[in-house]
């Protein structure tokens, strides 16, 4: 009796932690839709994806950094440097787009390895290493660009973040290709959910009721297809959305299903226990920062392509958006706790809030005030939730 009650309570607290943020997201979207009818228009949803994807890409890497109980303040600067190098090569030197992309990724890799070295092998806290990196890479960006903006990219580089995959199957005002891709993705998702459920049942785990499961799947599919229809009736499937989907799936698997991911959680959860369990802590710390550097470069490519140019001040302050996304998404400030899915929803909450406030013509200062409050309340909720579950134990 007691054990069952405890198990139930466990499940509830866990669910609240995981779904609390989802509920918050739905509330924010609902409120936005009520506040401004244009919010759910096809054009605006497409814009939302195009405008904020780079924050989500940064948040993927940032989540791993935060789970390992570190922080990376330099991602905005690394992003700018990667974009600047790409711009110099593509715009100034006239190189093909892929040279720019590879060079930018190389810059991110080097920046990540540089910071990983200082954190992992010298033992300087990530906060300080990346604070230094923030200045260092910002300075290098200005040097590379000679302190002036470079634009436009045009051509294929421009299309990375502004192009659409559509028209393959035609359609009348509604892109069929987009719908097909989404339908396939939706089916794969449901298939994986079913398999997961079967495995849970096979291993005697709580699986919830069948009806609830089916309703949930139908709801998810409905929302997904509705979103697909909105995109399809605007400009179709953005390239960037495909990239984002691939990255999110990859990083979810990386964090949950690989030894690398497990070790990151172990280090953040209890560093001493991880060391004594045979986790090669330095190696993991190093690669977490390398990974962050590369993802910052990806974000830099997307951002500069979207802006169609590179500026010395590009990406100023975006590290805070990425960090905020992770914390709103339930990551623990002391490491060891956090999910890719949570960070993505956290990032989307920030994106939706910025978007609706822009739509409604809210001044930039007030936007910042609102975002600050959301971050604070989200972390307060996290703390309250944790204390409550500790009290229950």
């Amino acid at each position: 009796m007691n054990a069952t009650a405890a198990g139930l309570r466990d499940g509830l607290t866990k669910n609240l932690r995981q779904s609390g943020i989802l509920i918050a997201f739905i509330v924010v979207v609902g409120a936005s839709a009520l506040l401004n009818p244009n919010f759910l228009s096809p054009g605006n949803l497409t814009n939302l994806v195009l405008q904020y994807s780079y924050i989500l890409i940064l948040a993927l890497g940032m989540l791993l950094v935060i789970v390992s109980a570190q922080i990376d303040l330099s991602v905005g600067s690394v992003m700018a440097l990667a974009g600047a190098v790409a711009a110099v090569l593509v715009i100034k030197q006239g190189m093909p787009w892929w040279v720019g992309v590879l060079a930018a990724l190389g810059v991110g890799l080097l920046a990540g390895a540089w910071q990983g070295f200082w954190v992992a092998f010298v033992g300087i806290p990530g906060f300080i290493v990346t604070l230094a990196g923030m200045l260092l890479f910002r300075g290098l960006t200005a040097l590379v660009l000679n302190s002036i903006s470079l634009s436009p990219f045009g051509g294929d580089f421009y299309l990375i973040a502004n192009g659409f995959l559509n028209g393959l199957f035609g359609g009348q005002g509604v892109d069929i290709f987009t719908l097909v891709v989404f339908a396939l993705a939706g089916l794969i998702f449901v298939y994986l959910q079913v398999r997961d459920r079967q495995a849970r049942i096979a291993y005697n785990q709580e699986a919830g009721s069948m009806v609830g499961f089916i309703v949930k799947q139908i709801l998810i599919l409905a929302v997904l297809m509705w979103f697909a229809y909105q995109l399809a009736s605007s400009r179709g499937l953005p390239n960037i959305l495909v990239l984002l989907a691939v990255l999110i799936v990859t990083y979810t698997l990386l964090s949950q299903k690989t030894t690398f991911g497990r070790h990151i959680y172990a280090i953040g959860g209890n560093l001493n226990a991880a060391k004594l369990s045979g986790v090669r802590v330095r190696r993991i710390n190093f690669w977490v920062f390398v990974n962050m550097g590369v993802l910052a470069a990806v974000a830099g490519i997307v951002f500069s392509s979207r802006m169609n140019g590179a500026q010395p001040a590009a990406g100023n302050g975006v590290e805070l958006d990425a960090i905020a996304a992770c914390f709103i998404g339930g990551a623990s400030t002391t490491g060891g706790i956090g999910r890719i899915g949570g960070a993505m929803i956290g990032g989307l909450i920030m994106a939706v809030m910025t978007n609706i406030m822009s739509l409604m013509g809210v001044d930039y200062p007030w936007q910042q005030v609102a975002k600050g409050l959301v971050l604070l309340l989200a972390v307060a909720f996290d703390l309250w939730n944790r204390r409550r579950s500790e009290g229950a134990a």
């Binding site: 005697n204 030894t259 172990a266 226990a273 045979g278």
Partner: protein
């Protein structure tokens, strides 16, 4: 008779554990009163009751101090009355100066409530003179040695007008000269009318300084000995500390001992942050297949340091010596190597070193053996869940599911999770560091059963414990450790608690030469390290 303190029938319970049961203690004015007992006997708990760390109402019984009943609700209350406790882990702030530390929380105020540093520094100098120190009061504490820091603690107590000074293992971290100095100071304070209560494991020190000795065992007062009485010998104290019956606390096992599995030769380890401080001194020992070997030693003898340094050099620096597994030398430079060499180490402090409390039981069990569950870096999480459930069932971990957070389990169940984690790595040698500390009798029995099961499969187990009855009950052979040296090797059949205790408390300069360490030149005497030294020194 003029008693400064009388504690009557003190009973203190923690959830599931009776820490003190009807304990009484009477201290005469102006005496040095020693309290003796094994680790976990309840000495520190008693002192925490006295000093108000456990406030009035959380225990039963009465405390009379200076003739009147006192009910302290915090440590501030007791300090106001002149009762000051000096803990084994010194409570000094390393980066603050001597004077700042002495007056921390009790600052010397001048005009307008601002701190008068000139006055504070001159008062600090006076206080230091009283404890025989001649240091600049503005020197940061971290620049003084442990011995001097201990004296600063006493100076701090003097600044609070101490009348009853409680010292918890004051000499555990000190070398001979510093210990001697400290004992001299306690005698000097006695002449000034300050009463002292001293908790100590060092029987020779007690014999030297104490007027009376109270022995506590299993949370009960055994007796109070007048040290002036010639019958109060060290043997008598040892008998009082350890005497209890061993029946039915340990599962039966018929030993089937085979070839040596783990052989350690001349293992020498230095302190990780204090260069030149010897922690383990040419320790050599052997563990055979099917054998449970005990390592007995008092707190600070180097038990954990020995195990941690063996386990992938997880502690210490400038480590030298040989480790062989099945007769072959192995190089265990880091923890993954040690795991690969089939050595496993269950840490003493499971919350700090053993578990990820914010992750579930499943992930904790798989954390050291993840290599067995993964291919090309991909974890088979279905298999992982299966393994976790198997161990939860086999080891009888009481939990709703293996997806429960490790932090929510009781101590005994947490210990079983740590055991599961290491059993899953399939070790040939399992080193258990205080495997039953802080867990109840039932869970202890279960853990002994797991140990027996392990050795009956031809594996070897090393048990480090400060509970001698436990070692006598489960081991085939016992090594004693003191000052980082192996001071004896006794087959369990011939071992008695008295004999072990005598080997564990040998004087630093007369360590009994054994077959293993006999005749080796001593470059330097190992100094006792304290458990607090371990914290944060994990490489």
């Amino acid at each position: 008779m003029d008693n400064i303190l009388e504690m009557r029938s003190i009973t203190k319970e923690f959830p599931g554990v009776l820490a003190l049961s009807d304990v009484s203690l009477t201290v005469e004015r102006g005496e040095v009163h020693a309290i003796c007992g094994e680790n976990g006997a309840g000495k520190s708990t008693l002192m925490k009751v006295l000093s108000g760390v456990y406030p009035h109402g959380t225990y039963r019984g009465e405390i009379f101090y200076e003739g009147e009943e006192v009910q302290f609700s915090s440590i501030n209350d007791s300090e106001e009355k002149g009762i000051v406790i000096i803990h084994q882990e010194l409570a000094l702030v390393p980066y603050l100066s001597v004077a700042e530390n002495i007056f921390l929380g009790n600052e010397v105020r001048g005009v307008g409530g601002l701190i008068d540093w000139n006055k504070a520094n001159s008062l600090a100098t006076e206080l230091m003179q009283r404890v025989g120190l001649d240091e600049n009061p503005t020197t940061p504490i971290s620049q003084l040695g442990v011995g001097k820091q201990q004296l600063i603690e006493i100076a701090k107590a003097l600044s609070k007008n101490v009348r009853l000074l409680i010292l918890d293992e004051p000499t555990a971290a000190l070398n001979d000269t510093d210990s001697e100095h400290l004992l001299g100071l306690i005698r000097q304070l006695k002449a000034q009318g300050i009463t002292s209560i001293m908790i100590s494991h060092k029987l020779n020190e007690i014999a030297e300084i104490a007027d009376n000795t109270t022995i506590i065992r299993d949370g009960m007062t055994i007796e109070t000995l007048d040290m002036a009485d010639p019958a109060s010998t060290q043997d008598r104290i040892i008998r009082g500390m350890v005497g209890r019956d061993l029946e039915h606390r340990f599962p039966e096992r018929t030993p089937a001992i085979g070839a040596p599995v783990l052989e350690v030769k001349d293992w020498t380890v230095y302190h990780p942050t204090q260069p030149g401080r010897l922690i383990i001194d040419h320790a050599s020992f052997t563990v055979k297949a099917g054998e449970v070997v005990g390592i007995a030693g008092l707190m600070g003898a180097g038990r954990t340091e020995l195990a941690m340094s063996l386990f992938g050099h997880a502690y210490g620096r400038d480590i030298s010596g040989e480790v062989s597994m099945h007769g072959k030398r192995v190089n265990t430079q880091n923890v993954p190597d040690a795991i690969e060499a089939k050595i496993a180490y269950c840490t003493e402090d499971r919350k700090v070193y053993g578990l990820n409390l914010i992750d579930d039981i499943r992930h904790n069990i798989s954390s050291a053996g993840l290599f067995k569950l993964s291919k090309y870096g991909w974890v088979n999480d279905n298999e992982e869940l299966k393994v976790a459930q198997e161990y939860a069932t086999n080891l009888n971990i009481k939990t709703p599911t293996v997806l429960t957070l490790a932090g929510k389990l009781s101590g005994g169940n947490q210990q079983k999770v740590v055991l599961s984690k290491w059993l899953y790595t399939d070790p040939d040698v399992l080193i258990l560091d205080e495997p039953t500390r802080g867990i109840d009798v039932g869970a202890k029995y279960e853990i002994y059963t797991i140990i027996n099961r392990m050795v009956s499969n031809g594996r070897a187990v090393v048990v480090i414990s400060s509970e001698l009855p436990e070692l006598l009950g489960i081991c085939d052979r016992i090594y004693t450790l003191a000052y980082g040296r192996i001071t004896g090797e006794v087959p369990a059949a011939e071992a008695t608690q008295e004999r072990l205790m005598a080997l564990m408390t040998v004087e630093r300069n007369e360590a009994i030469p054994t077959e293993e360490n006999g005749g080796l030149p001593r470059r330097q005497q190992a100094t006792q390290s304290t458990d607090s030294d371990m914290k944060g020194n994990l490489r």
